[in-house]
Amino acid sequence: MSEGFFSRGFRSRRKPSDESGRLPPGQYLERGFPVLSAGPTPHTPLANWDFSIVGEVDQPKRWSWDEFHALPRETVTKDIHCVTKWSKFDTHWEGVSLDTLLAQVESSASYVIAFSDGGYSTNLPLDEVLGGQAWVVDTYEGQPLSPQHGGPARLLVPHLYFWKSAKWVRGLRLVAEDEPGFWESLGYNNHGDPWKEERYQGD
């Protein structure tokens, strides 16, 4: 409806070309690391922490903190994109690939619901968290992941908007039928591809 509209007096601030190809539409480059959470930050003692895979699986799986740390680890460097418009380039993470975790169960499910301390959840198609696309990370820029940023461990699914990278993640529930998670029930897009600018319902 507003085709051809421009904002009187607003001048272009074209970014250097090395940034523009990496910024999805509507995003801007952020040097800091903003925090967005819907409630108080949970602080789960590591002795009480575990990570589980439940739902439509042959046998549920559970790892204690120590068992989780004994799994093969990967380091990844990724650009991340938040639906609130900021993007951050070249963030460094360390953790366990979902390929490694999901290889431990047999399932015919097509979707994954990640669930977290504090009641948060988010849904993802299974084939978008396999093949080197998703990790459970506990280390950010060489340091243990801080509680504000989702520590002790969070999901990392960098090809989707960052609300899909659930903080304080405690497990995955595999399901045959897709079901919306927390923000997906509150007007945000079910899929969340930043390159298609899938921010909200109907985008």
Partner: protein, 252 residues
């Protein structure tokens, strides 16, 4: 956490600026008429998109300050960030008669409607007051008498956003208490709090945990972390505390 589904699709719309109102040296309220506004809940925000003549675009999110009752008028209160790309335009360039492209409302969790009841505890840091002001204005417009307390942290007396209106709301509505803390400078004779929020201040101002207040906290990240963690320590149910944060980790 309760859920609420917001159906429909959010399309970009043009609103026309009908008034602008400086609130403090750094913040300005901009009231638009948005002809096809679908309505909103207090606490929600909008996306604003600026387009330069060469097609370059910049998008940001801003909280809605006005209550649903004023639709199709929608007021945003914007804090100017000196190195910002959009906020200097909104606070310094945009004027009455200009059009502004926006879409919304966005966000269905950090919202309060009069029938959600209380007691209601609002904790604001700086321009974090904006979505909470929409709640207070909605409360007043709905003629509500939900027991409400606002703890509002500002740098100085001159930096208190909506100061006169808050005074009027306290005088003209029942069951509303507003407590200010001024963290950097206080006027002569100031008898109120003059430090950053801390557990002791929340113990004194907040409802006790057994009254199970519904709590909304908005402000810079360290402010929200302190307020939310303090309330949890005081025994408040984390599921009754809703937060909205802005700014990077470690920002003062």
């Amino acid at each position: 956490m309760e859920r609420r589904t917001l159906p429909g699709r959010l399309t970009w719309q043009l609103g026309e600026v009908v008034t602008t109102q400086p609130e403090t040296a750094r913040t300005k309220s901009i009231t638009l008429i948005v002809p096809n506004w679908m309505g909103h809940q207090a606490g929600q925000h909008v996306d604003v998109r600026l387009t330069a003549a060469d097609g370059y675009q910049a998008e940001r999110s801003y909280s809605i300050a006005s209550p649903p009752e004023e639709a199709p008028r929608v007021t945003l209160t914007v804090e100017r960030l000196d190195d910002g790309e959009v906020s200097p335009y909104l606070t310094e360039e945009l004027r009455v008669g200009d059009k502004l492209e926006l879409r919304g409302p966005i966000g269905g969790y950090f919202v309060w409607e009069a029938q959600m009841g209380g007691p209601l505890l609002l904790v604001a840091g700086g321009s974090g007051i904006v979505p909470l002001m929409a709640m207070l204005r909605h409360r007043a417009a709905a003629g509500g008498s939900v027991a409400t307390r606002l703890l509002d942290s500002s740098r100085s007396y001159a930096d208190i956003i909506y100061r006169d209106e808050l005074d009027r709301l306290v005088k003209n509505t029942t069951m509303l208490e507003v407590v200010h803390t001024l963290t950097r400078a206080q006027p002569p004779g100031w008898t109120g709090y003059h430090r950053r929020i801390d557990p002791e201040m929340l113990r004194e101002v907040a409802w006790s945990s057994d009254q199970r207040p519904l709590t909304f906290i908005c402000g810079p990240t360290p402010f929200v972390e302190t307020a939310a963690a303090s309330l949890v320590t005081l025994g408040h149910d984390p599921a009754r505390i809703k937060t909205e944060r802005f700014g990077p980790t470690g920002e003062a």
